[in-house]
């Protein structure tokens, strides 16, 4: 029975008449149905081309030597290298006040003229910055969010100047990101951004009628574009990026949304589905939304692939992140899709009220009175926040490697665990995968990408490679 080879751990999934095999390092092979059984029952012919493919890709081994296993361990280790840095993304919610009125707002924002109790207190901001510097990461990103952080420019300046002051001692690489709707960017604020090399991350939902409808303001599109234009002039084109959120209305306009990004000088788009938080929870019938989102995603990706085939370089960033996990040997810094989860391990949120949350989504639960993911207060020690009772409880469930429905999924290495999403949508952190929209959406998207690799390889691979390497082919 034993045909002289050993099996190494791998996961598999049926895709049409093929089988997808994925190893521990995320390497995959697509083979005819029946291959897995042939491997597992030792009926593989040693030395056949299939055997060579499987051995070269660490699915089987003649006789796994310690040296081979050490190399394989290096490969797996480098996939998880994001853990070496500890928390790198530090989000500061400088204020809850906002000057827009988005239909899908996730941040429980308040009116722009509301009281300053919705702004972060300077002393607590400084405490948060001191906590950030205790992170062992050699490089950190300080991301300023809201509400609309440009409404409190003095806090933003104080934060950057304080970080620069402390950094004379800590010598970390600091990346600053200002998440702003670009409506209220003053010349003074832009000059400050230029002085400290601050990146602008903004939102643009598509063509004028759609963007304005999503924002609940008739003049938002014109204001945002004017803000983007001025930011580009002051900071450079590559210093301004935009995110797009898919409202229910957006679902009907995939091509128009891409066109609006092209018209406005962007070389890529980040497709984001609605989160089931904050006001967004009030959208009726989530199931129908996610089903329609998948159709929308496929249509938009198809359109983008067509543009690339015609010679344009335009990236869909969410797809590119997944492809990086599937096709490259490198780790990705995408905190929404990580195992162990991005929360705490890679991202932490300092809220306007001085409390520390596991993620952006966690503080939105906090806003409706649920403090399950409130890890502590900025006045507390790093040990108490990062390794306190809350984190210990969450940590038992935050890796796809050991939760049911993920541990045996072929996409385990490409996907991520999200205890916060499980809790907010299913009532417990563990979650039930077959009923999870998070799971359903990612499975469907990854299935779609593999089907492109199977059926349209010649056409899509040069495009995908160019997205990952930045090299035009």
């Amino acid at each position: 029975m034993d045909a002289g080879y050993r099996l190494l751990p791998f996961l598999f999934r049926r895709l049409g008449d093929r089988e997808l095999l994925v190893n521990e390092a995320g390497d995959f092979l697509i083979e005819p149905a029946g291959t897995v059984e042939q491997i597992a029952t030792h009926r593989l012919e040693v030395g056949s081309e299939l055997y060579k493919d499987l051995a070269a890709n660490c699915f089987v081994a003649d006789n796994p030597s310690p040296m081979f296993l050490d190399n394989y361990a290096c490969r797996i280790g480098s996939r998880k290298a994001f853990l070496n840095d500890s928390t790198t993304l530090h989000i500061f919610v400088l204020t809850l006040r906002c000057n827009q009125n988005c239909t899908y707002c996730q941040a429980s924002s308040r009116d722009a003229n509301a009281s300053s109790v919705f702004d972060m207190k300077k002393e607590e901001l400084f405490q948060a910055i001191r906590l950030m510097f205790q992170s062992p990461a050699a490089g950190v990103t300080m991301e300023f969010q809201g509400g609309e952080p440009s409404l409190v420019p003095e806090l933003l300046k104080a934060a950057v100047e304080y970080a620069e002051l402390l950094n004379a001692e800590f010598e970390k690489r600091i990346t600053y990101v200002l998440c702003t709707n670009c409506v209220a960017l003053t010349d003074e604020l832009l000059a400050f951004c230029r002085e400290y090399d601050i990146l602008i991350s903004t939102s643009l939902d598509g063509p004028e009628f759609l963007h304005n409808s999503n924002r609940g303001k008739a003049d938002s599109y014109a204001n945002v574009l004017e803000g983007i234009r001025r930011a580009r002039v002051c900071l450079g084109n590559d210093r301004v990026s935009a995110l797009m959120t898919t409202s229910e209305l957006s679902l009907q306009y995939p091509e128009e949304i891409v066109d609006s990004y092209l018209e406005n000088g962007f070389s890529g788009i980040f497709i984001r589905a609605l989160n089931p938080y904050g006001l967004a929870v009030e959208y009726a019938n989530r199931k129908s939304y996610y089903e329609r989102f998948l159709v929308f995603y496929q249509r938009m990706l198809d359109y983008i692939l067509r543009l690339n085939s015609e010679g344009m370089f335009f990236v869909e960033e969410f797809t590119a992140l997944l492809l990086r996990k599937m096709l490259s040997p490198f780790p990705t810094g995408f905190v929404d899709l990580q195992s162990p989860a991005g929360i705490v391990n890679s991202v932490i949120v300092y809220n306007y009220d001085g409390y520390v949350y596991a993620s952006d989504e966690s503080r939105m639960l906090g806003a409706i009175g649920d403090n399950t993911f409130r890890l502590g207060h900025v006045s507390e020690s790093r040990a108490k926040i990062w390794a306190g009772p809350h984190v210990r409880r969450i940590a038992r469930l935050w890796a796809t490697e050991f939760i049911a429905g993920c541990a045996d999924c072929a996409y385990q290495g490409y996907c991520g665990a999200d205890p916060v999403r499980n809790y907010s949508t299913q009532g417990d952190m563990y979650g039930v995968r077959p009923m999870s929209f998070f799971c359903g959406k990612h499975k469907a998207v990854i299935d779609h990408l593999f089907s492109l690799l199977i059926h349209r390889e010649q056409e899509v691979m040069p495009i995908f490679r160019s997205w990952l390497s930045g090299r035009r082919s």
Binding site: A25, A56, F68, C74
Partner: protein
């Protein structure tokens, strides 16, 4: 390679031949190994060659045999090169197996400078095929482990894929393997074969006319390059390559080994072409000049 010719700044091949011994037994070896202990004798001779070498030497090769069989003597030799020829690039050819010993790799790191480039061959993505070529079971795992250690120390590596009848059908798979397993090497060289030494004896097993692997090679190079890894093609004349690979083709053949056929005189690509191995017992059937 010939150890007796004197160093010349105008030559592209100035080499220290450090030993004829080797711990692999590659079936296509163009410099079949010898078992005699020649290390001390050659070490002394190479030191005196170095002392008389012109300072403006652009590149110095170190090869054998297997230079790591010198043990710590190799590091003393490298230190002597750094001292006497501080601005000369060093191209060390090795099978890399010795670096599977972490402490040996670490010692190399302690004497290595940016000038050092290791040329290390890998014959397949499948260990069995590689070991069949080297005729040493386990050599693939050792070379791979060595490459990982060199990567850990940031030592520059030229990964060499010699194209033979054994591996030409898997060239694309080898590219995929290199991107996933060895993305840290500096560049990958796909190499045409010189039929000399043991390769003559094993010609039937080894020889594949470059014109017959043209498409395989094109796919392998363009794929790997598409992933952002630097690639080049050695020892294959332009007329045997797909047009798309011409930018990757290098003048890789040592000047004293290079020849051109009579037909090459009329070829407009001759200036950029590597030409042919004068020393090879087999040439392609498909050589054809690009006429103006």
């Amino acid at each position: 390679m010939n150890c007796d010719h004197l160093f010349s700044p105008t030559s592209n091949d100035n080499t220290l031949f450090v030993t004829a011994q080797c711990n692999n037994r590659c079936i296509m070896c163009c410099q079949p190994p010898d078992r005699r202990d020649d290390i001390e004798m050659r070490y002394r001779r190479n030191l005196s060659l170095l002392e008389n070498a012109p300072k403006e030497l652009r590149e110095l090769g170190i090869n054998g045999g297997e230079p790591t069989l010198l043990g710590d003597r190799l590091f003393q030799l490298l230190e002597a090169v750094h001292e006497l020829l501080p601005s000369t690039g060093i191209h060390l050819l090795s099978n890399g197996r010795a670096f599977s010993d972490f402490s040996y790799a670490k010692k190399l790191h302690s004497v290595a400078s940016e000038n050092l480039l290791l040329g290390i061959p890998l014959h397949s993505d499948y260990s069995g095929d590689h070991d069949e070529v080297t005729r040493i079971p386990g050599s693939f795992d050792e070379t791979m482990r060595g490459l990982y250690h060199l990567g850990e120390f940031g030592i520059r590596v030229e990964l060499r894929v010699l194209i033979t009848r054994y591996n030409y059908r898997r060239l694309r798979k080898i590219s995929d393997f290199l991107y996933r397993h060895l993305p840290f090497v500096d560049f990958v060289a796909f190499m045409g074969m010189e039929v000399t030494g043991w390769a003559v004896r094993h010609m039937d097993q080894l020889w594949i006319d470059p014109v017959d692997f043209r498409e395989y090679l094109e796919d392998a190079v363009l794929t790997l390059s598409g992933w952002g890894m630097d690639c080049c093609v050695y020892n294959i004349p332009h007329c045997l390559l797909s047009e798309s690979l011409h930018p990757y083709a290098c003048q890789s053949i040592s000047d004293w080994k290079t020849e051109f056929s009579a037909d090459c005189d009329s070829c407009r690509k001759r200036k950029a072409c590597c030409g042919l191995f004068r020393t090879s017992r087999k040439q392609s059937r498909a050589l054809a000049p690009f006429l103006a």
